[in-house]
């Protein structure tokens, strides 16, 4: 009885997501059983979702903090370009180049957070400008054409596997664990929730709102940098316009995953389920040879449905309480 009320809403949301997953899995078993349920198919799914999955966690942190990070794809590509350039032109060792990508991401994120927090400009505007600036910077560095043909060991990061399990799955799980730990078990994580649910009350509670804003966006930037490494390795190519659909996709994921668009609510678990669910659906479309245009439509409908469902559940709960 004791813990029920707090975890109830979370469970409700995750239950819906799981139900949808089960629905997709059963539907595909009926329609395309043998092809869908093959090791190869699951491997191909795993190769795909970590790059935008990691990105979505960045979006999640910023949205919980009461903002949004529209610059993530820009950060991802800038990080990827820097990483690729260092490996290819400067011959920097791969780990160091990857670290550089993460550092670039952290820098971009911190800059976003600084502007948002100190000048009180809405995150949506700042990060939208950020997207332009960081993408533009990546474009300026490459001068247009993609940077191709890094070493095989770099290519291996996102394309190699351990047995039949892709390396990227380990990266994704590692990121997931770290993000989940930070959000749940650290002071900073709780402060992000406080900041997102009421910025003024956070200030009046002694929370350093500027610092928390900067750190949240820095964390998002770091995650952008990591996904920059993954996507560059995956495509073995870095340019300013990779993964341009990921901005909206990551928004879709976090909202579908139960992150409150007004800030202050939602869980890492919900977002994780949402990432997997969307990958299952995307893969189903590929297997069914359905046109891509339809996928956009279905994703859009899913998002609207999730938003409506959330509001309806919220209203019902409010009525029960009053």
């Amino acid at each position: 009885m004791k813990k029920k009320t707090a975890s109830k809403k979370l469970n409700d949301h995750i239950k819906v997501l799981m139900l949808m997953m089960v629905f997709v899995l059963i539907l595909m078993a009926v329609l395309k059983g043998p092809v869908y349920y093959s090791v190869n198919n699951f491997r191909s799914m795993i190769f795909q979702f970590p790059e935008y999955g990691v990105l979505s966690f960045g979006m999640m942190v910023c949205m919980i903090a009461g903002g949004i990070d529209l610059s993530l794809v820009g950060i991802m590509n800038l990080g990827g370009v820097v990483c690729a350039l260092l490996i290819k032109s400067a011959g920097v060792p791969i780990p160091l180049a990857c670290l550089a990508s993460v550092a670039v991401g952290a820098g971009c994120g911190a800059l976003n957070g600084l502007i948002i927090g100190s000048l009180d400009i809405p995150a949506m505007l700042v990060t939208l400008c950020g997207l332009e600036v960081y993408s533009g910077l990546a474009l300026a560095i490459t001068g247009g054409p993609a940077i191709n043909g890094m070493s095989d060991s770099f290519k291996n990061i996102a394309n190699g596997s351990f047995g039949s399990i892709p390396y990227v799955l380990f990266i994704f799980i590692g990121v997931l664990i770290v993000v989940a730990f930070i959000m749940k078990h650290t002071v900073f994580g709780h402060e992000v929730y406080f900041l997102g649910s009421n910025k003024q009350a956070a200030r009046y509670s002694g929370i350093n709102t500027l610092r928390t804003t900067i750190l949240a966006h820095t964390m998002s930037g770091i995650l952008g940098g990591i996904s920059g490494i993954i996507i560059t390795s995956h495509l073995n190519s870095a340019k300013s316009s990779n993964g341009s659909t990921y901005t909206l996709l990551s928004l879709l994921i976090v909202v579908l995953g139960g992150i409150n668009p007004d800030g202050g609510g939602g869980t890492v678990a919900g977002v994780t389920f949402s990432i997997v669910l969307l990958q299952l659906i995307a893969n189903a479309f590929t297997i069914m040879h359905a046109p891509d245009t339809l996928k956009t439509l279905v994703n859009g409908c899913l998002l609207v449905a999730a938003l409506i469902l959330d509001k309806v559940m919220q209203k019902r709960e409010m009525q029960k309480n009053s």
Binding site: V187, F194, N198, Y204
Partner: protein, 515 residues
Amino acid sequence: MSLKPHTVQKPYGVSSVKKERPGQNMGNEENKVFLKLKGIKKSFGGVHALRGVDLEIREGEIHCLAGENGCGKSTLIKAISGVHEPDEGEIWINGEKVEHMKPIDAINRGIQVIYQDFAVFPNLTVAENIALNGEVKDRKKFVNWKEIHQIAERGMAQVGAELDPDMPLEQLPVAGKQMVAICRAIVNDAKLLILDEPTTALTEKEVGKLWEVLRGLKKKGIAIMIVNHKLDEIYQIADSLTILRNGKYISSGKISEYNDARFMKDMTGRDLVETKYDPELSDEEVFRVDHLTLKGRFEDVSFSMNKGDILGLTGLLGSGRGEIGEALFGITPPESGDIYMNGKKIEIHSVADAIKNKIGYVPEDRLTQGLFMERSIEDNTIASSIRDYFHGMSLNEKEMREASERWLKDLSIAAPSIDPPVRTLSGGNAQKVVIAKWLNTHPRLFILNGPTVGVDVGAKAEIHEILRGLAKQGIGIIIISDDLPELLQNCNKIVIMNKGKVRLVTDNKIDKLSL
């Protein structure tokens, strides 16, 4: 018994009118009764907000509805304006019994409510705000700007307000916005004007101007009802008075039938003197400020408090009382002056400094500054002390739960557990959560700005009891409030501010006149 189904055959929402005269025994006054309520009851879920309220308002009369916060005043206003339909009871308007009244029915009968936020449009001009409502109500498709100006000018002339019709409303002070709201009500043919706590955000001068305007309207035969619980203001303006307590009708009558004692007794249900705070005096100084100054807010403020003291800080709005609280908590740090805690000099330049020096602050606006409405009671309780639970690598969740559960019990917060969001709590319980948040930081100085605003009578007494207990433990307590009875009852020292300066420091032997 509360949610009685309606057995009336008429379609819901259509108001029906019966031509009947209300009680004949009321004909002994020269003015006609405009609004008459009989035995109004209303409950929400299991909470009885109104348990049988009678009210009578006459044309050309200023009637004051008084009662402590949570007594059902706002629910009653909503019943009169058609927002809430009463579960039981009768509403008579102008001698007609009205059933199933909707807001539009109330407006058509001339009932206009001016809420505390005035419901005005800040980005529109004065003239637009006054006149546009009528244009919309008349379902006009096009806006006639000349007419808008004429309507606005006429409204302002009737009310006696002097405002620039082309000025955007956001540039007006609060009092100006209020005038616009009154003009709008008059333009819309108000016969009964209801003002919900109209003076809370006004300066003394503005209050005077408001009374002037209301007296003018009264002479035109308009019935006026003011919700207020400030005794001195009621004496200034009201002709008659109705007092509610805990949703119940307590008493009603001409203002001349009341004195301070009866008023307080009817409002609170107990005698004021009974519970006066009287601590043992001590020489041990807990907190002192010397020549504290923040230009434009307050100047040269000095006071000190000893162990066991509860210090009241009061003055009119704009006197600097709230600003001192914000300054001592580091929100807007003081520019100069010295602050001593337990005899040691401390510096406060930020909220972090204040917290480091064990100062807790319950802000004036609980909803926007004090609480995380969507977060659980537990989260709210540990919000300011969360760092204490970070051991080694992670937060100790068990300790956080235990601390929060302890406060739930110690402060008797009425909630099933620490898990529901604070949004589900009543005002008094929510305020206790804010208090718990600070007590969990083990403060040495605890500043409370308007600690019992919007708190019901029972919880108010409980909060006072908590504060007295803390003071006895040697925690310095500063209560900032404009609720003078509250201060007289709970503080053994009172600092009265005026225009940013300390006007009087007293050991609580003042009467209300010296304010």
